[in-house]
Amino acid sequence: MKTGEGYEAFTDRLVRWLAGELQETEARSLEEELRSDPEKEKLYREYLKVWESIGSAEEVRGMDLDAEWKLFEGKWEGSRETVQPGKVLELRRSLLRIAAVLLTGVLLFSGWYAYRQLSETIRYSALDEPLTVTLADGSRVSLNRGSELRSFRKTGEKYRKTILKGEAFFEVARDTLHPFVIEAEGTLVEVLGTSFNINAYHGSGEVVVTVHSGLVAFSPARDSKRQLVLKAGNSGKWDAGELTLVKEADPNTTAWLTRKLVFDHTPFAEVIRTINHVYGTSISIANPALADCPITVTFDDQVLSSVIAVLESTLSVRFNRDGERIIVSGEGCE
């Protein structure tokens, strides 16, 4: 940095490079400069870190584009003027213009896309219904309602990195050279190739990891010394700074995905909590005397109405709809 251009001129070019404004030859000469000047390389690393940490806006994937178009079409039709025959020519012209613009857009976009491919972030979100997606490495992830997963695909990087908000069931494709890492509400989960469920809804302050197959390493993001290694059937729980191992995991952990429910002398209040989680309902119990009544029953992918019918006859209670909510009334048990 002692000879040639000063910092200022160099960072100008660096910024243009980050923004995708440099021609290929310019970019190549910049890269060569970096290799020969460690000071410039340090600066480059810092700028790149800042640029990448801020992140571009991610395309929202996993949305139902047909439904989005229908939704918009309704609004659009309402606002649309009726076209007079006299306007035909003008329409034709603007039609051609839109066509030309679309083409330019496609070309511009594909160039930009190719450039940005090296560090692509994909965001998946499930709104009202669970959503199953396949990531670039072949791993399958099912997201529960109101959950979001971001996956960072970077060529040549050691880790397959993702960030989870909410709950998801992972079936990670085996790749021992590239560990799969999930960051969820202040915890890190690292695996090579297994299946497991993570429940990390924001605001609950709790993260529960339940393993179905293989081994999973679970630790607080800021303190890797406290690490739990979980085996199939185990759960790890992170709550208020405490990391605990639960040897026998709740059998209903993935019921939100499979709708397979197992209750064995389970208190009614807990049954209702689980059903609310699995079916996205808000059912509450009117009579506190019902809360502790033990329930033993299994359901295999039943619709909500049959689940309710079975519970009504088992416990002699009534499920009454009150707008969005459902209220359970009844006498209580002996």
């Binding site: 960072t11 100008d12 910024v15 243009r16 980050l18 923004a19 995708g20 404004e21 700028y47 870190k49 800042v50 640029w51 940490s53 801020i54 992140g55 571009s56 806006a57 395309e59 929202v60 949305m63 989005e68 178009w69 079409e73 609004k75 659009w76 606002s79 003027e81 076209v83 025959p85 006299g86 306007k87 035909v88 003008e90 329409l91 603007s94 213009r97 839109i98 066509a99 030309a100 613009v101 679309l102 330019t104 857009g105 496609v106 511009l108 930009w112 965001r123 979100s125 109101g146 909410g166 560990p179 890492v181 890190l188 809804y201 924001h202 605001g203 630790s219 993001a221 800021r222 890797s224």
Partner: protein, 186 residues
């Protein structure tokens, strides 16, 4: 005859419009979500931009790329929504409806994201606008210049300034976070 021609030509234009919607909607929604965490708000902004595009299709200068027009419009409308909200909450302080705030609080930002958000918000206004259109919208300098009515050189200056300030504010913090992550993985 003329009427039949109109009926015939209409679907094509609508199809092109639908094509544009399908192509840009996912990106524009993601862009709007950077500013409006509530998905319904973000969707509404993008809808308004497309309705406006349709209504003004004979006036708009399509020699500029459609993409930059759409992103700039979403940007401006998103900021309008934020400004109106601020005004409203200062005057009335209407409590949020529980169901509306639920999703946005679930998808709340992590500490790092918050730090980044604050640093961007602290940039001078024009500087921030240019930076966000480049980084979040993926627009080229020339597209930003055309949309904002400034020169490419000015865009470049704003970008340099933005990155300089952001680096000063974030680099120490980023180094620590990355180190912690690395450490916890090894």
């Amino acid at each position: 005859m003329k009427i039949r021609e109109a009926e015939y030509s209409l679907p094509d234009e609508k199809q092109l419009f639908e094509q544009a919607f399908r192509k840009y909607f996912p990106g524009l929604l993601g862009f709007a979500l950077k500013y409006l965490p509530d998905r319904d708000d973000a969707r509404e902004v993008v809808h308004q931009v497309f309705i406006n595009l349709w209504e003004r299709r004979s006036e708009i200068d399509f020699s500029e790329p459609l993409k930059s027009y759409l992103f700039t419009s979403v940007y401006n409308r998103s900021l309008n929504v934020i400004r109106d909200r601020k005004k409203l909450s200062r005057e009335d302080r209407i409590p949020d409806r529980a169901d509306e705030s639920e999703l946005s609080s679930r998808i709340e930002t992590t500490e790092l994201e918050q730090r980044i958000g604050e640093s961007i918000a602290a940039l001078p206004e024009k500087c921030r606008e240019v930076f966000e259109l480049s980084r979040f919208g993926g627009l080229k300098y020339s597209e930003i210049a055309a949309q904002l009515g400034i020169s490419v050189k000015t865009v470049e200056n704003h970008m340099n300034k933005a990155l300089k300030i952001l680096r000063e504010r974030l680099i120490d913090y980023l180094t620590i976070v990355v180190w912690l992550l690395w450490k916890s993985m090894n």
